[in-house]
Amino acid sequence: AQRVTQPEKLLSVFKGAPVELKCNYSYSGSPELFWYVQYSRQRLQLLLRHISRESIKGFTADLNKGETSFHLKKPFAQEEDSAMYYCALCPQWGSARQLTFGSGTQLTVLP
């Protein structure tokens, strides 16, 4: 069975500093990876997915199959980036169903 680990429950950085939210996964096949974000008092929404290779709100994530990681990065954090971030895995590449989520990282960007 697949598993997603987000080792940091809480992460604080100062505005303008780089930020990296860690995500590691365990799965023997070729998964599809996602980052979801939940801003305060808003619903969970997709931030980016590996297959799209997009940069959303300045965030990027690279799939490292050797390290089985999908860390989320942004070079210059903004206060509006403060939110709960969830990494998720789908066991079928190119699909988006049956997501397995990590436990989330609460990011706080300090002024």
């Binding site: 997603v4 619903r43 190119g94 169903r97 049956q98 997501l99």
Partner: protein, 113 residues
């Protein structure tokens, strides 16, 4: 442009009672998912509906949990003989197809006394 709608937003009930949670997906979305989020945990997959196919019930934690999706639209998650460990936020999501990202509702916060 309504998103995924869930009701009730909050539900408090006594242990042993049955509860029904409702999800109204985005119109035209053929895939519908239920997840559970316990305190401090990530989202746990429960069940998945795709069109008229048989649902994937592999995530349901016990036979007290069941779900229906009538007419390919509205879904109801039923928990029978609720236990305190059932307390969680129950999230519903829908997507146009299984290769498309899921759109989540606000969830139902269920509290079992």
């Amino acid at each position: 442009g309504a998103g995924v709608s869930q009701s009730p937003s909050n539900k408090v009930t006594e242990k042993g009672k049955d509860v029904e949670l409702r999800c109204d997906p985005i119109s035209g979305h053929t895939a519908l998912y239920w997840y559970r989020q316990s305190l401090g945990q990530g989202l746990e997959f429960l069940i998945y509906f795709q069109g008229n196919s048989a649902p994937d019930k592999s995530g349901l934690p016990s036979d007290r949990f069941s779900a229906e999706r009538t007419g390919g639209s509205v879904s109801t998650l039923t928990i029978q003989r609720t236990q305190q460990e059932d307390s969680a936020v129950y999230l519903c999501a829908s997507s146009p197809r299984t290769d498309q990202p899921q759109h989540f509702g606000d969830g139902t916060r269920l509290s079992i006394l």
